[in-house]
């Protein structure tokens, strides 16, 4: 068995496979299907200061090799998480990582401060592509100054591993990555979903209640892979890659492109056991290729 462990900031992961926020609930939904302790980490559903009902139904549209969602950060708020969910999952032998959201810098800070006190949450993922924010409806994640500002503010109140999750809906994702690195991020994760749209031609209406939504799944993999490659050339901090990973081969591609770890998202819906299969597949790949440690593969893409 090869050495699958990787490090993200201070975070020691037993293997490079985590599950992506919003696609794995709080882990419990998958307890019947897999041994959650096999995972390196679980990034839980995005939390906000207060309960959010999210967007109206319909929230989902299937597309070619992908899906659109407009869940809209439905969650019961950070306090509910701390009091009711955290106690149930905190003793799992996997890292619980909280995906932190807010509509203002203050809101981000509010959630962060609360999360900072949880002994068994060794890292947070700062989600800066939430669509409803101060700056004139412009998301934090699509401009360097705003990405930098929120990262800096959160960094000041957070003591552990700070991962910033980047939006792919930008001209130069490497510039945003550099900005959040400068602001103190320990790692970046990418990509979040692409803004897309689906139309019912018969009804002549949008399929989603909010007209547009976020595209995920294998359809976006080529773009996500390019962005991981591009960002990993631009920053020194570790990169966590995701976007359309369906199997171990996809995961290896992201790692070769520069990702130190990966997250599995939409694939969990199609095969709730896929995350563990990916861990096993990576192990097999390393064995077949006579590689002792996954670390050797990170960014090892041979471009001549």
């Amino acid at each position: 068995m090869a050495d699958l462990s990787v490090k993200i900031g201070d975070l020691q992961l037993k293997n490079p496979v985590m599950t992506a926020s919003g696609t794995f609930g709080f882990g419990e939904e998958f307890a019947d299907f897999i041994d959650l302790n096999r995972l390196a980490g679980i990034v839980v559903k995005g939390l906000t200061p207060k309960l959010r009902e999210g967007n109206p139904y319909p929230r989902m549209a299937e597309t070619a090799s992908g899906m659109l969602n407009t869940v809209g950060l439905q969650n019961r708020g950070v306090d509910y998480f701390i009091n009711h969910i955290y106690p149930r999952i905190k003793d799992l032998d996997t890292h619980i990582i909280v995906n932190v959201n807010g509509s203002t810098v203050e809101e981000y800070i509010e959630v962060t401060k609360k999360i900072n006190k949880l002994a068994n949450v060794p890292a947070m993922e700062l989600n800066i592509s939430c669509p409803n924010v101060k700056e004139g409806g412009m998301a934090f994640g699509v401009s360097c100054p705003s990405a930098m500002a929120v990262t800096k503010a959160v960094r000041e109140v957070y003591d552990r591993t700070l991962i910033v999750k980047l939006s792919p809906n930008v001209t130069a994702i490497d510039d945003i990555a550099i900005a959040v690195e400068e602001a103190g991020a320990d790692a970046v994760s990418l990509v979040n979903t692409f803004l897309g749209m689906a139309i019912d031609a018969e009804k002549q209406k949008p399929i989603l209640s909010t007209i547009t939504g976020g595209l995920s799944g294998p359809a976006i993999k080529p773009i996500a892979l390019r962005m991981v490659w591009q960002v990993s050339q631009a920053v020194e901090i570790p990169v966590i890659g995701m976007g359309g990973i369906m199997d171990a081969t996809d995961a290896i591609e992201f790692i070769l492109a520069g990702a130190s770890a990966i997250q599995v998202g939409t694939a969990n819906f199609i095969d709730p056991q896929v995350s563990v299969k990916i861990i096993e597949g990576i192990d097999e790949y390393l064995e077949q290729h006579d590689i002792d440690s996954i670390a050797e593969l990170v960014g090892a893409l041979n471009i001549d």
Binding site: F30, G54, S65, F269, P272
Partner: protein
Amino acid sequence: MKKVSDCTVNQIIWLNENNFLLELIAPDSLPDIRPGNFAELRIDDSRDVFLRRPFTILETDKTNNTIRFFIKIIGAGTRKLGTLSEGDQVNMIFPLGNSFSIPVKGPVLIVGGGSGIAPFILLAKELQNQGIPITFLFGGRTHQEILLIDQYKAFGEVFITTEDGSAGEKGVVTQHSVFNKIANYNMIYACGPEPMMKAIGNIAHHHNKSCEVSLENMMACGFGACLCCIVETKSGNQRVCTEGPVFNINDLTWQI
């Protein structure tokens, strides 16, 4: 406990050109399956089908681990399921969702519209076991949409409405004369198009009858992970796949 199983197609029974029964054999003994539960089937190697598809569990047979589904062809996924043949593999996640509640006493009225007939065989079996009398009312546009009647007749009286009058009373289900005797029933169950369920809900509400409906919905996962399948309830948005698909109309925010 939910399972992911590679099942084998045992047979496909065509009811007419758009509807069929799919019978799968599970690889090991069936878990406890309750009336109203559904399964998520993976439709492999089909270009137009990315996600799984949810189907209500129609019937089960514990002696040979078979599960039956009633399937209506409406798009690429259901069409592809109809091309399966004996021995093909289908990956299934099951059992999913909550289930109907069983009243202490009957009689009960079960109303199915269009293809909303799948949840009621398991329910009828359970009610029969409890000695609760059942009346069925099934509606469709034409007699071709009235399916599985012979099976239902084994459990109780079956009324029919068709919009064109080609079978049973002419009209829609809510116009059926059985509602004149609504006071007789202790509970109403309904499944079908949303406007029909709302209309039944309305009648139940005004006669102060307990009423459960089984909702359909666009689902990405089917087991509570994605939050795509919500319905508005009096205690906030709930997941149809997990807190449902069966809801008491009193818990929903329907304007009835």
